[in-house]
C-alpha cells in the first residue's frame, strides 16, 4: 500500500475542480429544500388559514394540500437533479482524481 500526502491531492487541479463543482451543486440544492420546507412549516405556524383556502374557485383541493404534495415532488426533483449532475460531471472528476492518485485502489491518504 502506498501513502499519498493529502497536501499533494489538495493542490491538484482536478481535485479543486471536483470540490468546486460539488459545492456549487450540493449547497444550493440543500438550501432550496430547507427553505421550501421551513416556509411550509412557518405557514402552518403563522398563517394556517391561508393554507386552508381552495386553490381556485370551484375546487375543494386547498393550497396546503397541493403545496404539500408539491413539496414531496420537489424532494424527488432535487434528488433527480443531483443524481444527473453526479453522473455527468462529479463522477467523471472523481474518477480522474482516483485514477491519478489511486490507480490500484490500495492507496491511502495520509
Amino acid at each position: 500500500m502506498s501513502h499519498i500526502p493529502h497536501t499533494v491531492i489538495q493542490e491538484d487541479a482536478d481535485f479543486k475542480a471536483l470540490i468546486t463543482a460539488r459545492r456549487a451543486i450540493t449547497w444550493p440544492l440543500a438550501a432550496v429544500v430547507s427553505i421550501a420546507y421551513f416556509a411550509f412549516i412557518l405557514a402552518i405556524a403563522f398563517d394556517p388559514k391561508a393554507l386552508a383556502i381552495p386553490v381556485a374557485d370551484g375546487y375543494v383541493g386547498t393550497n396546503g394540500i397541493w403545496l404539500g404534495i408539491g413539496l414531496i415532488l420537489l424532494c424527488l426533483i432535487v434528488t433527480g437533479i443531483y443524481l444527473h449532475k453526479a453522473n455527468t460531471v462529479l463522477d467523471e472528476l472523481t474518477h480522474k482524481v482516483q485514477d491519478k492518485f489511486a490507480p490500484t485502489h490500495t492507496e491511502d491518504v495520509v
Binding site: 412557518l42 383541493g61 491511502d108
Partner: protein
C-alpha cells in the same frame, strides 16, 4: 372479523416467515465474518439498498400511523409525511457519499475518524442505543397490539414472537438476512398500498377532487380536514417538530448503517435516489388511503364501534379499508405485510444497536481497536440476544402506556446528538473532541429532560396538573443547546488533542470527497 384468528392473514404470514427463515439459513451459511455481519459484505446494489432503506422507513408506525392520522384529521397527516421525507435530499447532498467513504460499520466510524476514538465512540454508542431502544419499544408495543387485533393472538405471545424472530434473523443472518427481509417486505408493502390506493381512486374515476369532495361530505370536521388542524398549536412547536423530523432522519443509526452495505460512494447515492422515490411515492399512497378511509369507513357500522370510534382505533384505518376494497383476502394480505413490516424494522434496529455495542463499545473502546474478529462476532450476537430480551420485557411492561411519544423522542435525540456530531465532524474543521463530547451529551440530556418535563410525559403519563416545559417537541431547544455548546467548547479548546483533531481534518476531507483510501468493494457491473 377483527380479534379472531384470521386464516388468510395467518397463512400468508407463515409463507413470509418460511421464506425469510430460508434466507436467514442461506445468509448464515455465507457468513464469513464481521464484514458480512455488519454490512452484508458491501455487496448490496444501490437499487436493493434503496428498497431496504425505504423498508426501514416504511414502518408499521408510518404506514398505519400516518394513514390513521389522515383518517382522523386530514391535512395534519401530510405534515408528518413531508417532514419524514425532506431529510432525504439532505442526506443525499451532504451525508451519503462522505459517510460511505469514511466509515465501515457504524456512523461512529466517521465521527471518530479524526476525533479521539474512545470518548466519541462512547458518546455515539449512547446516542445510538438510546435512539434504537426507544424506537424498538415503540415498535414492539405497537406490534403486540396490532397482532393481537389482526391475528387474534394474546399480546404477550405476539411480543415474544416478534422478539424471537428478530433475534433469529439478526444473530444467524446478520445484515445479509436483515437486508433481504427488508427488501421483500418493502416490495410487498408497496404492492399492497398501491393496490388499495388504486382501488380507492378507481371509485372516483381517478379524480383527487372527487375524492376530497366525498371525504369532506363524510368527515365530522367537514372542510377543516383540508387545512392545518390541531397537530401544531403554536410557532415554536411547528419549528421544533419540523427540525426533529428533517434532521432526525440523518441521525438514525439503523438508516445510516445501510450506507455501508453498498460497494462504493456511487452506489450510496444511487441508494438515496431509489429510497427517496419509494418513500415519496409511499407517502402519497398513505395520503390517498387515509382519505379513502374517511369516505368508506365513516359511519359504516361494520368498522365503527359502539363508542363511535374506529374498531381498534385510528391506526386500523388502512387495514379496515383493505377489507372494504378487497374482502378477507386483501385484508389478510395487508395484515400479513404489517406483521412482516414490524419484523423487518425491529431487526434493522436490533442490528444497529448490536453494532453500537460490539463494534463501538467492545472492539474499539474496550479492546482499543484490537479485538479478535471471532470475539467481536460473539459479542454482537450476545448483544442481539440481550436487546431481544430487553425488547420483550419492556414491550410487556409498557403494554398499557402510550408509547407514541417515544418515536418523537428518538427523532429528537437523533437530531440533537447523532446528527450534529456527524455533520460537524465532516464539514466544520474547528470541531474538537471536547466540543463534540460536551455538546453531544448536552443535546442528548436536554432532549430527554424536556420530554419528561413536557406535556406528554409529565401531564399525560405522570398525571401532574401542569407541564414544567410547555412544548411537546424539544428539538428546537435541544438542537440549539447541542450546536451552541459544541461551538463554544470547540473554539475555546486549546488542548493538545484539539490540535490533532484539527490537523487530521484535511486528510479526512480528501478521503471523504474522493474515496481514496476508503474501504471500497467491487460489484459486478
Amino acid at each position: 372479523m377483527i380479534g379472531s384468528i384470521n386464516l388468510p392473514a395467518v397463512s400468508m404470514f407463515l409463507m413470509f416467515a418460511a421464506l425469510t427463515l430460508i434466507i436467514t439459513y442461506w445468509a448464515a451459511k455465507n457468513m464469513a465474518g464481521t464484514k458480512d455481519f455488519y454490512s452484508a459484505g458491501g455487496k448490496i446494489t444501490g437499487f436493493q439498498n434503496g428498497l431496504a432503506i425505504a423498508g426501514d422507513y416504511m414502518s408499521a408506525a408510518s404506514f398505519l400511523g400516518i394513514s390513521g392520522l389522515v383518517f382522523s384529521s386530514g391535512f395534519d397527516g401530510l405534515i408528518y409525511s413531508i417532514g419524514f421525507l425532506v431529510g432525504w435530499p439532505i442526506i443525499l447532498l451532504l451525508i451519503a457519499e462522505p459517510l460511505r467513504n469514511l466509515g465501515r460499520y457504524s456512523f461512529a466510524d466517521i465521527a471518530s475518524f479524526r476525533l479521539k476514538q474512545k470518548p466519541i465512540r462512547v458518546l455515539s454508542a449512547c446516542g445510538s442505543l438510546t435512539t434504537v431502544i426507544l424506537y424498538l419499544i415503540a415498535q414492539v408495543v405497537g406490534s403486540g397490539k396490532l397482532i393481537q387485533l389482526l391475528f387474534g393472538l394474546p399480546y404477550e405471545v405476539a411480543v415474544v414472537t416478534v422478539g424471537t424472530m428478530m433475534v433469529l434473523y439478526v444473530t444467524f443472518g446478520g445484515m445479509i438476512a436483515t437486508t433481504w427481509v427488508q427488501i421483500i417486505k418493502a416490495a410487498l408493502l408497496l404492492f399492497g398500498a398501491t393496490l388499495i390506493a388504486i382501488l380507492v381512486l378507481a371509485q372516483f374515476h381517478f379524480s383527487p377532487e372527487a375524492l376530497f369532495t366525498a371525504a369532506i361530505a363524510k368527515h365530522a370536521k367537514g372542510t377543516a380536514i383540508m387545512g392545518p388542524g390541531t397537530l401544531i398549536a403554536d410557532p415554536v412547536s411547528a419549528i421544533s417538530l419540523g427540525l426533529a423530523l428533517m434532521f432526525g432522519t440523518a441521525g438514525l443509526p439503523h438508516i445510516l448503517m445501510r450506507f455501508f452495505t453498498v460497494p462504493d460512494a456511487k452506489q450510496a447515492h444511487r441508494s438515496v435516489l431509489f429510497s427517496t422515490s419509494f418513500i415519496g411515492y409511499f407517502y402519497i399512497l398513505t395520503f390517498i388511503i387515509g382519505f379513502g378511509a374517511i369516505v368508506f369507513l365513516t359511519g359504516n357500522p361494520n368498522y365503527i364501534g359502539e363508542n363511535g370510534k374506529l374498531i381498534g382505533d385510528n391506526d386500523m384505518a388502512a387495514v379496515h379499508l383493505s377489507h372494504v376494497m378487497g374482502g378477507n383476502i386483501l385484508m389478510g394480505f395487508i395484515s400479513a405485510v404489517a406483521f412482516a413490516t414490524i419484523l423487518a424494522v425491529v431487526s434493522g434496529l436490533a442490528l444497529a444497536g448490536a453494532s453500537a455495542i460490539s463494534h463501538d463499545l467492545y472492539a474499539n473502546v474496550i479492546c482499543g481497536g484490537k479485538a479478535e474478529e471471532k470475539a467481536e462476532m460473539r459479542v454482537s450476537r450476545l448483544a442481539t440476544i440481550g436487546l431481544g430480551v430487553l425488547a420483550i420485557v419492556l414491550g410487556i411492561l409498557f403494554e398499557k402506556q402510550n408509547v407514541a411519544f417515544m418515536v418523537g423522542l428518538a427523532f429528537a435525540i437523533a437530531a440533537s446528538t447523532n446528527f450534529p456530531i456527524l455533520i460537524l465532524s465532516m464539514y466544520w474543521k474547528r470541531l474538537t473532541t471536547r466540543g463534540a463530547v460536551i455538546g453531544g451529551a448536552a443535546g442528548l440530556i436536554t432532549a430527554i429532560v424536556l420530554v419528561v418535563l413536557g406535556p406528554v410525559v409529565w401531564v399525560d403519563i405522570l398525571k401532574n396538573t401542569a407541564a414544567i416545559f410547555p412544548y411537546k417537541y424539544p428539538a428546537l431547544f435541544s438542537m440549539s443547546v447541542a450546536f451552541g455548546l459544541i461551538y463554544l467548547f470547540s473554539v475555546t479548546d486549546k488542548s493538545h488533542q484539539s490540535k490533532e483533531d484539527f490537523d487530521r481534518f484535511d486528510v479526512q476531507f480528501v478521503r471523504a470527497q474522493t474515496g481514496i483510501g476508503a474501504d471500497r468493494d467491487t460489484l459486478k457491473h
